[in-house]
């Protein structure tokens, strides 16, 4: 694993995931998600051929686009209130605590997947934890979808070093697009329900 841009990508991905957790503006969230996929794809090029990583990147961007369209439809029916500053601070604190735990447990976690570079294990576990925090905190379909996709990006980082194959990587890309599609669908259906209630 070489190249300073790969290094940047490995450390940048958890940072973007952290921003995703605290930022409420949906446009920024979609942009950050696209950035997260770009960094993850850059990291994965160290293990996968470029076309395979690019296919995942396209699937990720497509997921962002699906969520943006769904959110746009939902906004026409009225947006929800933004979360208070204290709520965001709390999220930041819990995320920081989760990252500290991951750093502490990194030697043990790396022993689970010794063939995966240590920095990548950290990045993957951080994305996994930050994605799971999204899922634990909200019922809101956009956040749920973004959290699920963050978590799946974390999984992809480890998976890329463990498995190679066109069909498996293709199915993983479909899986990510499907998560976005399901999240977007729930976003639209939920808002139509609220509109009619």
């Amino acid at each position: 694993m070489s190249g300073s841009w790969v290094m940047w990508a490995v450390w940048g991905a958890p940072f973007l995931a952290l921003l995703l957790l605290v930022i409420d503006d949906w446009r920024m969230q979609v942009l950050l998600l696209a950035g997260l996929y770009t960094l993850a794809a850059a990291t994965v090029t160290a293990a996968w051929p470029l076309p395979l990583a690019a296919a995942q990147l396209v699937a990720g961007w497509l997921s962002g686009a699906i969520l943006a369209i769904a959110q746009n439809i939902q906004l026409r029916r009225g947006a929800g209130p933004p979360s208070p500053l204290t709520g965001r601070l709390f999220r930041l604190l819990v995320a920081a605590a989760a990252l500290v735990v991951i750093i502490q447990a990194l030697p043990t976690l790396h022993a689970w997947w010794p063939q995966v570079p240590r920095r990548v294990v950290f990045s993957a576990m951080a994305l996994f934890a930050l994605g799971a925090l999204h899922l634990a905190w909200t019922w809101q379909p956009l956040r749920l979808a973004i959290g699920s996709l963050t978590l799946l990006v974390g999984f992809w980082l480890i998976y890329a070093w463990l498995q190679h194959g066109l069909l498996l990587s293709g199915l993983l890309a479909v899986l990510q697009a499907m998560v976005a599609w399901a999240g977007g669908y729930l976003l639209v259906q939920g808002s139509s329900h609220e509109g009619q209630a």
């Binding site: 799946l152 069909l167 993983l172 729930l186 259906q189």
Partner: protein, 464 residues
């Protein structure tokens, strides 16, 4: 020609086409789905795989090959697995048959083709990782079944399900990645223990035990029960059959009692928790969710018997449970026709307008516990017998299941058959189409012993 073209890609394609086709009523689409599913089930019973079958007076021969290769991965369907095809497409035909009577939307018959085809794809995948990825996709696809388009639906339950499903899936896939190359390892291997730890967390998530608010009742509150039971049926049968393959791939599982004991403990916790919480539900949909959790507990108990005895118990539960799900889903759907709500206030007295629906709803709740005499009692009794000495916690869980289901049945009998009082929900006015025909069919299939020979045929043909 590969057999998988017939039983995987063809029904999947037709199902997707049928679902996306904008015209046609439920009845018309159900007709296509019933005929196709029944034909596929019949073809599976008659056509051998990997043997030349003469047709048209020996001038033409049909040779179905077992394997198919897609992008370098092998998919295989052996002749010994044909009973599974009969079971999957036979059940799908029953669901499609019930769809018009339950007044379900036109998208449901298409799902009766997509779901069994998806399960066939997962079972055909030789690589367990690939099989679980396919099931992962199927698990996401059912969200579109549970939240039908163009109909106001509460999305809280499906949103929760999405989170739980996505949390569990990477854990299962990482488990299988960790186990790569450890087919003949031993339980002492640290990688094996780590993998099993991840698997246990994933199973607890998917089985609704963690994080303490089971997803099933939430889904029951949000989605239509007939749609839910259809999705659950195929998803969990697919998961069960794929996981039953694990001991045949990872040979150390057969000798590791800790794995089976863990599964058994999980099963008993599910049965106990669901049985305890079942009578306290004021929403019939939530009761359906807990009831499903309870029946999943029985399946898990069957699975804990391992790859030698497990399939027998699994198939013993399959047909009766299928019939129960179809009949129950249909009864509940009809019962809620005028208002599409399943809360206590709306359903009060509705059973008086349509007694068969009320009786089916009550019988469905009663039937989740293994009362002796019910068609699935032999399956549960077999599982109980072969799990060895019944521990005290098992007896307690069984007691909770019995008492819980009896109390729930009594509660909903009181609600559904009470005078309407000040319930302003419109009563069920129109007698559902072919209600008696369907009831007679369900009774005939369920109680005249047809389930028994089917069960014997299925279990005797277990390929591993």
């Amino acid at each position: 020609m590969s057999a998988l073209w017939i039983w995987w890609l063809f029904p999947l394609g037709v199902g997707l086409g049928l679902g996306l086709w904008p015209r046609g009523t439920t009845r018309q689409k159900a007709r296509v789905a019933v005929v196709l599913n029944a034909t596929l089930a019949l073809a599976a019973a008659l056509l051998p795989i990997d043997r030349v079958v003469p047709v048209l007076g020996y001038r033409v021969v049909l040779h179905l090959t077992p394997e198919m290769s897609i992008l370098g991965r092998t998919f295989l369907w052996l002749d010994g697995q044909r009973p599974w095809l009969v079971a999957l497409f036979g059940a799908a035909a029953l669901w499609a048959l019930a769809a018009p009577g339950a007044r379900l939307a036109p998208d449901v018959p298409a799902w009766t083709l997509i779901l069994p085809a998806g399960v066939v794809g997962a079972l055909a995948a030789q690589d367990l990782l690939l099989a679980l990825l396919i099931l992962g996709l199927l698990g996401l696809a059912v969200i579109f079944l549970w939240v039908p388009p163009g109909r106001p639906t509460a999305t809280r339950g499906p949103a929760r399900y999405l989170a739980i499903w996505v949390l569990g899936l990477p854990l299962v896939l990482l488990t299988l990645s960790l186990l790569t190359g450890l087919e003949t390892a031993t339980w002492d291997n640290p990688d094996v223990r780590r993998a099993m730890g991840l698997m246990a967390i994933a199973l607890a998530l998917w089985m609704g035990l963690f994080p303490f608010h089971p997803v099933y009742p939430l889904l029951g509150e949000s989605a239509h029960p007939a749609r839910l039971l259809l999705g659950w049926h195929f998803l969990h049968v697919g998961l069960g059959l794929v996981l039953l393959r694990m001991p045949t791939v990872y040979l150390w599982i057969r000798e590791t009692t800790a794995v089976y004991q863990g599964l058994r403990a999980l099963a008993w916790v599910m049965i106990g928790v669901a049985g305890t919480l079942l009578p306290f539900q004021r929403h019939l949909g939530r009761a359906v969710g807990y009831a499903h959790m309870l029946t999943l507990g029985w399946s898990l108990l069957a699975w804990s018997l391992g790859s030698d005895l497990g399939p027998t118990a699994f198939w013993a539960l399959y047909w009766p449970r299928t019939l129960w799900s179809v009949a129950w889903g249909w009864g509940l759907a009809v019962l809620a026709l005028p208002h599409d709500q399943f809360d206590e206030a709306t359903l009060t007295g509705q059973g008086r307008d349509w007694l068969p629906g009320a009786l089916l709803a009550i019988a469905g709740l009663l039937a989740v516990a293994p009362w002796p005499g019910l068609p699935w009692w032999p399956g549960v009794a077999y599982a109980l017998h072969h799990t060895g000495t019944i521990a005290w916690y098992g007896l307690v869980a069984l007691g909770f299941a019995w008492v819980g289901s009896a109390l729930t049945g009594a509660r909903w009998a009181r609600i559904l058959l009470a005078p309407r009082g000040d319930n302003t929900a419109p009563p069920i006015r129109r007698w559902p189409d072919r209600a008696w025909a369907w009831l007679a069919l369900a009774a005939w299939l369920g109680f005249n012993g047809l389930a028994k020979p089917l069960f014997h045929w299925a279990t005797n043909s277990w390929p591993f």
